[in-house]
Amino acid sequence: MPNHTLISQCRKDFPILKREVNGYPLAYLDNAATTQKPKSVIDAITNFYENHNSNVSRGVYTLAEEATEIYESGRDAVANFIGAEDSGTIIFTSGTTESIKLVSSAWGQKNLKKGDRIILTEMEHHSNIVPWQLAAKSYGIELVYWPVTTEGRLDLALLEELLTNSVKLLAFTMVSNVLGCINPVEQITEIAHSHGVPVLVDSAQAVSRMSIKVSEWDCDFLAFSGHKVYGPTGIGVLYAKKERLEEMLPFQGGGGMIRHVEKQSSTWAVPPQKFEAGTPPVAQVPGLKAALEYLKQYGIKQIERHDNELTEHALNQLTEFPDLELYGPSEIQNRTGVVSFNLQNVHSHDVAQVLDESGIALRAGHHCTQVLHERLGVPATVRMSFGIYNDPSEIDRMFSALDQARAIFLH
């Protein structure tokens, strides 16, 4: 497997992977929560602070010009990475949550009114549910849920039925952070557009795992977080198509987003600045840029293949044990390395704690998807989620450690 050799090289790029936990080498299998950072990302942040730190966009001195240049080149890098034709469509936010909130507020305020509907899916993260509930309260709109099938997928035929005249937006995740399924963005967008409905794509779990092509897919909004793509915390991205940008009111008010401020009213800068109020995550931008460059260095194709191999390796073993219940598709097609399950009669928290005793870091709980867990009929699940540095042997260790959980809780 030439792929493994290559990817296993990348382990050395991540300082934290040298750590031991409870006497074992750290097996970090919680990449859906946040990813670890390669040295190049940490160095990019340090380099900014040690050599170029200054506020952006407003100073005429050398340092300020350098910082602005770095900041704007980060915008270009993001545009390029997600296939956006124009850097002016990239807005820096603090994370996916804020990106979605920006749409629900800045776009919603102007485009949603009483009686309108928004379609969400049952597999959405709370970040793509709660802002719309708050919007529903403010604007009097209604939320409609596109159901998850028993296989843990979305049924495109059902979508057609939901797309009634009053629907004003379809907001859905590209990859479920629990089921691991990949939803076909291009197809969904085409169906929605054929009914005149714009789409918001939550790509928090997707950007690190597969190639993104916003212009080609023609999606209207796309959101993701830096910390889930091997980049820093405190930064996120909202892509918004030009036509949508023009329909948006300002989001937050403050420095940088204005044209002219008078006592009682103000006029606004042009996008994307209009939506970037206050001092932006200046030092996080070069960190995010370094992360995207890091991914490019290995190549998204290769990363995808590795992710597939790990997923297959995990699914094969999972289905061998009759006391393990898998949530999400069991076939590998359109599926990625987020694998959730339960050990019968053992609570997921108990499982996670026993695994931690063997140095295995993974998550138990509802993963901020209570609506989905309601649908699955369980309050909580155990989730392993893979990153580019994970190795099949770490998955094997996870399955061995499950034996200990069995011994403790089921003897």
Partner: protein, 146 residues
């Protein structure tokens, strides 16, 4: 066998065979509480005669720690006054925050949990039953527990 294993076994025994599990009919006080981090749920029903907790039951949908905590609490509070029970819970809370392992007499039966207190993420599990008790006391408007 290490001290920690003994403690763990005590907890597991309670989790597997919880004491006072179930729901009282026509309880004097009752509360349902919820741990938003993991989705766990716990229902507590109390039968009072005057100040005294005559009986109690819990229904737990949660992890072993949460279940053991409910079981041990139920044993500790029956035949105590509601006020004594609340004080026990608060002393437990204090002991969980302390750096050392000294605990007041009243909290002694809860020692197995203190061995786990460095796992800060599990504290909420240990306290969920006691939170339900506080909730009951809040509903019981008459006396003043604060």
């Amino acid at each position: 066998m290490t001290r920690d294993t003994i403690y763990r076994d005590i907890l597991l025994e309670h989790a597997r065979h919880p004491k006072n599990s179930g729901r009282l009919e026509n309880p004097g006080l009752s509360a349902s509480v919820h741990n938003p981090l993991c989705g766990d749920e716990l229902e507590l029903t109390l039968a009072l005669s005057g100040e005294l907790i005559q009986d109690c039951r819990t229904i737990v949908r949660g992890c072993s720690i949460c279940q053991a905590s409910a079981s041990i609490m139920s044993e500790m509070i029956i035949k105590k006054t509601l006020k004594e029970a609340i004080i026990t819970g608060r002393l437990f809370d204090e002991s969980l925050r302390k750096d050392n392992e000294d605990v007041p007499e009243m909290v002694e039966p809860l020692r197995p949990f203190l061995a786990l207190k460095t796992h800060r993420s599990r504290i909420k599990c240990m306290k969920l039953a006691w939170d339900a008790l506080e909730e009951c006391a809040n509903q019981d408007k008459s006396p003043n527990y604060t």
